[in-house]
């Protein structure tokens, strides 16, 4: 316990692998198909959707803000994509349109929050609500799937690249780019500086407002890229498509941050893998999503609690005191 508190990276990695192993063992014992090749593919595809959303959210969390709008924005992105496809736009145009809507929504969030200084939580709840409303605009709420076969969007889910599923390739690509930006460039430093001490970042010549704006823009755009993959896998665009993005994305970022000490791209990916491993297992056991969400949320709270340094010290103190006396 004390060792965990001082937390060298290897120990944190070990904790992560252990946690993943426990999850896998539990589900394997209840559902023998859990570790089958087919299911692992499904798990990773599922992870791609949540992972992309969580990567976008990571930027917002790094600048110490909140975005609660991305599920609604993603629904709007999905419907925009579906509508563009149904109206004979090319695949590239349609996907760009969907992601563009997400980017736009994110930039609206960002500019309202950083330049007009409105509170982030209320603002993003509101823009999310607006986005949900707008998503009904295309079809009065019925799902869109015209032209899906012809357009080739399904290939985004089904095709492979170097024997990896396309969604996984897209996630890996996005993660690598995000990793480089956030951890290997001046921009990453500026994002972290903005989040950790906004005033000192401003006094260091960092354009903090622009970075907050960018973080929200990235979050909106990546949520819509994620929803594109979900639309591709389900074969239809739905007004409720984004509804299930919220909890896994927040859980992934916070679980990762709790495990690795701070929000970062690797931490978020680790968090997403744990979340998807659980959510996939519950799907396999045919546990309805409202129960699995509840269980996963409980796990999230426990995990954050366990890795909280204050609690670790407390528990560590309890254990180390006894043998001393």
């Amino acid at each position: 316990m004390m060792a965990l508190k001082s937390s060298p990276l290897t120990l944190r990695l070990l904790a992560f692998v252990l946690l993943l192993g426990v999850i896998a063992a539990v589900f394997q014992s209840f559902a023998p198909a859990y570790l089958s090749e087919n299911n692992l593919h499904a798990l990773l595809r599922h992870m791609s959707v949540n992972g992309l959303t969580a990567i976008g959210l990571t930027f917002v969390i790094v600048v110490r803000h909140f975005d609660l709008s991305f599920p609604g924005v993603a629904s709007l992105g999905a419907m925009t994509l579906g509508w563009l496809l149904a109206n004979d736009y090319s695949l590239a145009e349609s996907v760009a349109g969907g992601i563009g809507i997400g980017l736009l929504a994110g930039l609206i969030n960002g500019s309202v929050i950083s330049y007009l200084r409105l509170p982030d939580i209320v603002t993003t709840i509101a823009t999310g609500g607006v986005a949900v409303g707008l998503s009904y605009f295309y079809s009065n709420g019925t799902s869109l799937s015209e032209n899906f076969f012809m357009s080739g969007i399904l290939d985004l889910n089904d095709s492979k690249f170097l024997s990896l599923d396309m969604p996984v390739v897209i996630l890996l690509g996005a993660a690598i780019v995000a990793f480089i930006v956030l951890h290997c460039t001046r921009f990453g430093r500026a994002f972290y500086a903005t989040g950790e001490n906004r005033r000192s970042a401003l006094f260091s010549g960092i354009r903090v407002k622009a970075y907050v704006l960018t973080a929200f823009g990235l979050c909106g755009a990546l949520a819509c890229l994620a929803i594109t993959l979900l639309v591709a896998s389900s074969g239809a665009a739905n007004v409720t498509a984004g509804n299930q993005l919220m909890m896994p994305a927040f859980a992934a970022v916070y679980l990762g941050a709790a495990l690795f000490g701070a929000p970062s791209i690797p931490a978020t990916l680790a968090g997403t893998l744990l979340m998807s491993a659980m959510l996939n297992g519950f799907t396999l056991l045919a546990i309805p999503y409202y129960y699995s969400d509840a269980i996963v949320s409980t796990v999230l709270i426990l995990a954050i609690g366990i890795f909280d340094p204050k609690l670790t010290t407390l528990v560590g103190g309890l254990f180390s005191r006894k043998p001393a006396r």
């Binding site: 001046r186 430093r189 500026a190 001490n197 000192s200 006094f203 260091s204 960092i206």
Partner: protein
């Protein structure tokens, strides 16, 4: 007089470091006792033991003849010891009264047990009757000047009636001369009420102004305890006692050569309510000092010169070209670097390491190919800068929050060195910095001025007078021209405090 507190043979070890080595300390009722020593000398450790934050490894503590164990802050308070931290933690949105009685509010009987505001007010009036001091306690603490916050914190500490020993940790570090006077008035009130005050400060002149006795610490040992009268009579050099060496003048020599080209020309700079009609010229090769109390507009002026505050009128000319400073980003690009007055919130990202902070003001230089961070060369440059500013300890991977005030300031300066600016503006550069590190900082300023213009804005008159080649005073937002090139310290002081044109 009988000793109210007697500490004998106190020892405290942190790892291999002996923070306190067989220290004796005693305190009499109704005395003001100053603790002196550079950072790390052991004075903070001693008061942390006394206030129950640390536990001692050895030794005894006797209060009013009874041996006590100060195992926790609560135990210390129960023994009648209260302390006020260097940065008192108050609730900004509460009034002075609410802050004073925070956690022990009088409750009304009945449903909800609401806070009895009338009773609180009555108690506050009683407290003010015990210690008459002029303060508006109905004001929100967030809107109070620094001295009133300090007074509220002290009254909070004294709101329990049995407190006999009060510990003040650098209470004057953020106060102006004028504000100090009212704090000292309160301290004298407390003294006459029989309360003993332990008082930590880095400013020696205050010790003789307010103190009865002082104790000097060095490297975990008590060097000496003298009454202030003895101290004055014997002509001992306190800095010498603190440093164990003859410290010479802490200020570097003045500029030898005539100042060069005009780097920064400010004409008629005006921002209603903050400062007005400010004009001066800063040249390469000189240190220009601006002496201004807190509230004189000096801090705001520095922010106007860094693009944070927009002046309403007036011109800023850089190397002959009139400019508008849009934001700090713009100011930095035009060659101005600000070492801000509040280094903890404005100067540093405390949770990050030295390299992160040193390179932050010029990320463009720290990266290649459109943004890729140069990890190796940043480390190398940071190491060189750390050596140049004599960072102690010389570790680059520590979060800057773990460094002492003086060394944090060195990191901010290194940040400016990394940016390689033409104009360096220092605001309150040595607040909370011990005397050893102060000399280093002044020397650094002089070194910087060889190739740049240095503007030092401070509410410490001695500092401005000691370090600057030319100086002006700022009084209520207006510059008071001090007639000749080198005014005496007293001329400068009266100009800044009373607006007097000598």
């Amino acid at each position: 007089m009988a000793a109210i507190l007697d500490m004998k043979g106190i020892e405290k070890q942190f790892g291999v470091v002996k923070a306190l080595d067989n220290v004796d300390f005693s305190l009499e009722a109704g005395e003001i006792h100053a603790l002196l020593g550079i950072n790390g000398a052991g004075k903070s450790t001693l008061i942390k033991i006394l206030s129950g934050v640390y536990s001692k490894d050895a030794g005894t503590v006797t209060i009013a003849g009874k041996t006590v164990e100060l195992g926790s802050p609560a135990a210390a308070i129960a023994c009648g010891i209260a302390s006020v931290q260097q940065h008192p933690e108050l609730v900004d949105d509460f009034t002075g009264v609410e802050n004073i009685f925070l956690g022990q509010e009088a409750k009304q009987a009945g449903l909800g047990r609401r806070v009895d505001r009338k009773a609180l007010k009555r108690q506050a009036e009683q407290l003010l009757k015990r210690f008459p001091i002029e303060i508006d306690l109905e004001q929100r603490v967030g809107e109070m000047p620094a001295v009133d916050r300090e007074i509220v914190a002290i009254l909070h500490a004294l709101s329990r009636e049995h407190i006999r020993i009060l510990i003040l940790d650098e209470p004057t570090s953020t106060l102006t001369e004028r504000e100090k006077t009212s704090l000292f008035a309160l301290m004298r009130q407390l003294k006459s009420a029989g309360i003993a005050i332990i008082y930590i400060t880095h400013r020696l002149e205050e010790v003789f102004e307010i103190g009865d006795r002082f104790t000097v610490f060095r490297a975990g040992k008590r060097v000496t305890t003298l009454t202030c009268r003895e101290g004055r009579a014997s002509q001992v050099s306190i800095p010498e006692l603190m440093l164990d060496e003859k410290p010479g003048d802490i200020f570097p020599p003045k500029a030898k050569n005539a100042a060069g080209e005009a780097l920064l020309e400010v004409r008629g700079l005006d921002r209603p309510g903050l400062f007005s009609d400010v004009s001066f010229t800063l040249r390469r090769g000189e240190i220009l000092g601006i002496f201004g109390l807190v509230g004189s507009g000096a801090d705001e002026l520095s922010k106007a010169l860094f693009g944070v505050i927009r002046p309403a009128a007036g011109t800023i000319t850089l190397k002959g070209k009139p400019v508008t400073l849009r934001d700090p980003h713009d100011a930095l690009r035009k060659g101005i670097f600000l070492v801000p007055g509040d280094r903890r919130t404005e100067g540093l990202t405390l949770s990050r390491d030295v390299i992160f902070n040193m390179t932050l003001a010029h990320l463009g230089k720290a990266s290649v190919l459109g943004g890729l961070f140069r990890f190796a060369s940043s480390r190398k440059t940071s190491a060189e800068l750390a050596k140049r500013v004599a960072l102690h300890p010389m570790t680059l991977d520590r979060p800057v929050s773990a460094f002492s005030g003086g060394n944090q300031q060195k990191i901010v300066i290194a940040k400016g060195l990394y940016r390689d600016s033409d104009i360096y503006i220092f605001v309150e550069p040595t607040v909370g910095v011990d005397i050893g590190a102060r000399a280093t900082l002044y020397a650094l300023m002089r070194e910087l001025s060889a190739h740049a213009g240095v503007l030092v804005i401070s509410s410490d008159c001695d500092e401005v007078h000691g370090v600057a080649d030319r100086m002006i005073a700022l009084y209520k937002g207006r510059p008071v021209t001090v007639p000749d090139q080198r005014p005496s310290r007293d001329q400068l002081l009266s100009a800044g405090i009373m607006g007097a044109r000598a």
